[in-house]
């Protein structure tokens, strides 16, 4: 099938989309479709696996193979699916709760194994589907149905954890920036290895405005930076801030106060830099990093290694089933 036939619409199913009007998930679906277009596989060679959550309803809206599984297990199901058939373009769509709460273990191990999956984590910092409980990405003090007096748990930063696990592609988007999300999803789709894409989304019902600090027209740009490989890290409403190195970390300073040569240049392949960039937070006076934070596909994928090993064993031992069955202590009656 010629790539030219692949359009976003081609990947849209005709099921009625049931997210609340205004939900951030709509924008993300659009970006994922662009990613699929870029990946270039016909839709019957694409599989989407999701867990349970508002975000996990995603597969129904896509004209691909779709598996809406159980809460938290999408990464594990997708791991099996991908290894079973490496020809498929496999996407995982999961929420912050689905990925980092009940699904935390599969999530970290899938990253570690560098399976060739495209993993989109829609982070609205709340459990939407179950009507508003805090999640592991919720902020300290956040009010929710289960934290009427404020959350006590320190939040987890999934991307920082992903970097610490040797993730080979780590990127962040935000519902309101559709262009950026497309970029992220296209890059993720083309990356060979585990593509970790966190996309902030607004849950208009249970966590309205969670990302306002970043999306706010007047000031938002002061609190996030859009990274581009090889470009200086400058941000702010008037591009007035930049990042410079500070010990093993970074700090944000006014461009006018910085030595031009000190302004850090983003290097997608620098894992140590990624460890810092992925964890930046306004609480620490640093902008949230958006865009591709880290990307390096030199590490072999688990799924490829599985078949390389199989081939190697075939070369080396190459037994048939009959031979295997006839091994061991045998005798003839």
């Amino acid at each position: 099938m010629a790539d030219t036939q692949l359009t976003k619409k081609y990947f849209a199913s005709d099921a009625e989309v049931k997210w609340c009007p205004g939900c951030g998930d709509f924008a993300i679906m659009n970006a994922v479709r662009s990613g699929m277009v870029a990946a270039g596989k016909p839709r019957d060679e694409v599989a989407i696996v999701s867990g349970i959550g508002c975000s996990s309803r995603f597969p129904y809206y896509m004209e691909t193979y779709g598996f809406h599984t159980i809460h938290g297990r999408a990464a594990a199901v997708a791991s099996g699916l991908k290894v079973a058939n490496t020809d498929l373009d496999v996407w995982v769509i999961s929420g912050d709760g689905d990925s980092t709460a009940i699904g935390g273990n599969h999530f970290i191990h899938a990253i570690r194994r560098n399976l060739d999956l495209n993993y989109v984590m829609i982070n609205n910092k709340i459990y939407g589907l179950t009507k508003g409980q805090y999640s592991p990405t919720s902020e300290v003090g956040q009010y929710s149905k289960t934290s009427p007096y404020g959350v006590l748990d320190y939040p987890m930063d999934p991307l920082k954890v992903a970097v610490s696990l040797g993730g080979t592609f780590v990127a962040r988007g935000i519902d309101k920036n559709m262009k950026l999300n497309e970029e992220v999803c296209v890059r993720g789709a083309l990356h060979k290895g585990f593509s970790m894409m966190e996309i902030y989304a607004n849950c208009v019902i249970y966590n309205e405005g969670a990302h306002d600090k970043l999306t706010n027209k007047e000031e938002g740009a002061n609190f996030h930076i859009i990274l581009r490989d090889g470009e200086k890290m400058i941000f702010g409403v008037n591009s007035q801030y930049c990042l410079v190195q500070d010990g093993f970390g970074v700090k944000a300073v006014k461009v006018e106060n910085a030595n031009q040569a000190d302004i850090l240049v983003h290097d997608e392949k620098d894992a140590e830099m990624a460890a810092i960039l992925s964890g930046m937070r306004p609480d620490n006076g640093l902008p949230i990093a958006l865009g591709v934070i880290y990307a390096d596909d030199r590490k072999k994928t688990y799924d490829d290694m599985v078949y390389e090993q199989i081939d190697a064993v075939k070369q080396k031992r190459g037994r048939t089933m009959d031979q295997i069955m006839q091994e061991g202590h045998t005798w003839t009656v």
Partner: protein
């Protein structure tokens, strides 16, 4: 000279080996199994590990055992009380002597009865001398001394020489049981001989010497007044192999994949006593078996579900606590209606329980341990070799009905071994007809509908990712025929009934159970899984004794075979011996409203024939 040792012909001999965990009881047991089998006997064996942690050498807690029964007829269990105990040290003798038949033989290494060793197990005197073992025919052989002497010329570390003790013992037993010594000599060559690496060659030589020393010892000392001679059993012709249940299941997985034309896949997490299955299967990369050792049991089953969704033939392997963790995801496979085989090697429970001990207490968990009304077929393996067939059958049914299937084995079956007639791949049933993927080419003009069902099996039409034009969505929520989520009350009712009927239907194609003994009688003894051997042996003996008893065995534990109710109705009483508190009994009672009696045993140990016999006699009022 022991030339005058009498050669008594015997129908069966029960031998038990006990020694330190590190002493290789399983190894020597397997060697004797192979030797006896090669010589035409039927054999059944039962290993008996101590606790999960390596207990200190020379202590009672550290004793590891291996019991076997050799016979000139079909042998169903490792036997009741041993005729011969080989106890390699004082702890082993202390631990096991009490199990030996009155007057039975105890062979031991007298060199190991040092003061220190005796003290360790709380003996002040020496039981070889102080009459403690007076009820037995004790053969105290200075094995260490004799082996070291035999190997005096060999340049080897003393420890390595001492390890040849096992082949010395094999020599003694080979003579004692009148076996063909060439078989052992060949085996040594095969394992350690010319094709082996340098150091192993030396081992071959040393073991050969030790073995011969053992043979000579039997022949030349006057210690043995009696030798046993077992006739050959009527055994089907063919190539045989001694195999554990776990290994047999591993082979079945690979074989079923090949016969189905699908890549076999195991998603798993290690757990005693199921780990060996995964170990062995991990070696089968050359026949395309993919094993994914996952981060936990949940991931284990979930990858298997994923692989199944992609069209692999998927399995997950575990034991009780692992099954408990997999139940939610098993429900997913059930809702997706994809094939999946869950092999559960049962162990003592509840909770972590008795990890190394056998039990049959996951039956009800397998039946009912999922949220919602959820039905899955359950097949139980009767013995180690049978794990091959049970697992293969499970794969077939999983494919045919698009359903998860549970295979129940247990620690005894999984880790125990017995001879297995190795099938040829082309003799095995072809599973391709049951795969039957939906492909547009075969359904011209039709559109793919994901939960459209085969009217007979109720299996749904199954198209896998990559199939041209068949993209569709399925999930764990209740859905209608098209796979679309549905909250329609009647859809849920109907789908629930379909899922139930699918499993009930399977009963229609199951073979009828055959009754061992009269078709109508006073007592019916029902076995399932690991109780097969003891019940079969017991019922055979009871019948031979003229008792009004018959027996049947359930291979599929759910659904029940079609004629089961009718069979049961022809008996006055029904007895179900189980290694649990009465789990199959409960299912039978509920289904047939019959006052099934449960002979329940939860001691980490399989039934002995006499336990079943005693119970039956009690029921007969004798």
């Amino acid at each position: 000279m022991a030339e005058n040792a009498k050669l008594t012909s015997a129908e069966q001999i029960v031998v038990k080996f006990t020694g330190d965990s590190g002493d290789g009881m399983q190894l020597i047991g397997n060697q004797l199994t192979a030797l006896a089998a090669l010589d035409g006997n039927d054999v059944n064996s039962l290993p008996d590990y101590p606790s999960e942690i390596r207990a200190p050498a020379g202590t009672i807690a550290g004793v590891s055992g291996f019991q076997m029964c050799l016979g000139d007829h079909k042998i169903y269990t490792a036997g009741d009380a041993p005729d011969v105990l080989v106890g390699f040290n004082p702890a082993a003798v202390k631990h096991s002597a009490k199990f030996v038949k009155a007057g039975g033989m105890i062979i031991t290494n007298s060199d190991s009865f040092t003061e220190k060793a005796l003290e360790k197990i709380g003996y002040s005197g020496n039981p070889l001398e102080d009459g403690t073992l007076s009820g037995y025919d004790v053969k105290a052989i200075p094995m260490t001394t004799l082996v070291r002497e035999a190997l005096a010329e060999m340049e080897m570390p003393i420890a390595a020489k001492d390890r040849c003790k096992n082949f010395f013992t094999m020599g003694v037993l080979c003579w004692l049981f009148n076996k063909n010594k060439q078989l052992v000599l060949d085996f040594i060559q095969q394992k350690f001989g010319p094709k082996a690496t340098k150091p192993l060659l030396k081992v071959a030589q040393a073991n050969t010497l030790a073995f011969k020393a053992g043979l000579n010892y039997g022949e030349t000392t006057i210690m043995f007044q009696e030798r046993y001679d077992l006739g050959a059993a009527q055994i089907e012709k063919g190539l045989y192999r001694n195999i554990t249940g776990n290994d047999a299941a591993a082979l079945a997985i690979a074989a079923a994949g090949e016969k189905a034309g699908l890549q076999p896949f195991i998603g798993s997490y290690p757990i005693t006593p199921a780990t060996d299955l995964l170990h062995y299967a991990s070696e089968f990369k050359d026949v395309d078996l993919v094993t994914m050792q996952m981060e936990d049991e949940i991931a284990g089953i979930c990858t298997a579900v994923g692989a199944s969704c992609a069209g692999n033939l998927a399995f997950t392997t575990t034991s009780g606590p692992g099954l408990a963790l997999k139940t939610e995801a098993a429900g997913l496979a059930l809702m997706l209606e994809v094939p999946l085989v869950i092999v559960n090697v049962q162990r003592g429970g509840p909770s972590t329980g008795l990890p190394t001990k056998t039990e049959q207490s996951d039956l009800l968990q397998s039946m009912y341990g999922r949220n919602g009304d959820s039905y899955m077929p359950i097949i139980a393996a009767n013995n180690p070799a049978d794990c091959f067939d049970a697992t293969f059958q499970a794969a077939k049914i999983a494919l045919k009905y698009r359903t998860p299937v549970i295979v129940l084995t247990d620690g005894y079956i999984g880790q125990g071994s017995c001879p297995w007639k190795v099938p040829k791949m082309d003799e095995l049933e072809d599973l391709k007809p049951y795969v039957n993927f939906w492909i547009p080419e075969a359904h011209k003009g039709e559109e793919y509908v994901s939960y459209k069902r085969d009217p007979e099996t109720l299996a749904r039409d199954w198209a896998i990712p990559g199939t041209k034009g068949c993209q569709h969505r399925i999930g764990s929520l209740e859905k209608d025929e098209t796979g679309a989520v549905s909250h329609d009350p009647l859809v849920h009712q109907q789908m629930t009934e379909f899922r139930k009927a699918k499993v009930d239907n399977l009963a229609q194609v199951l073979p009828e159970v055959e009754v061992n003994g009269k078709k109508s009688n006073k007592i019916l003894v029902i076995s399932w899984g690991g109780t097969f051997g003891a019940v079969k042996g017991a019922v055979d003996r009871l019948i031979a004794d003229g008792k009004p008893v018959s027996g049947i065995n359930l291979r599929w534990v759910w659904p029940f075979p079609p004629n089961l109710g009718e069979i049961i109705s022809r008996f006055d009483k029904v007895l179900v011996p189980e290694l649990n508190m009465g789990q199959l009994s409960l299912m039978l009672r509920a289904k047939f409203l019959v006052d099934v009696q449960s002979l329940s045993k939860v001691q980490g140990d399989p039934f002995r024939e006499f336990e079943v016999i005693d119970k039956v006699n009690e029921m007969l009022g004798e």
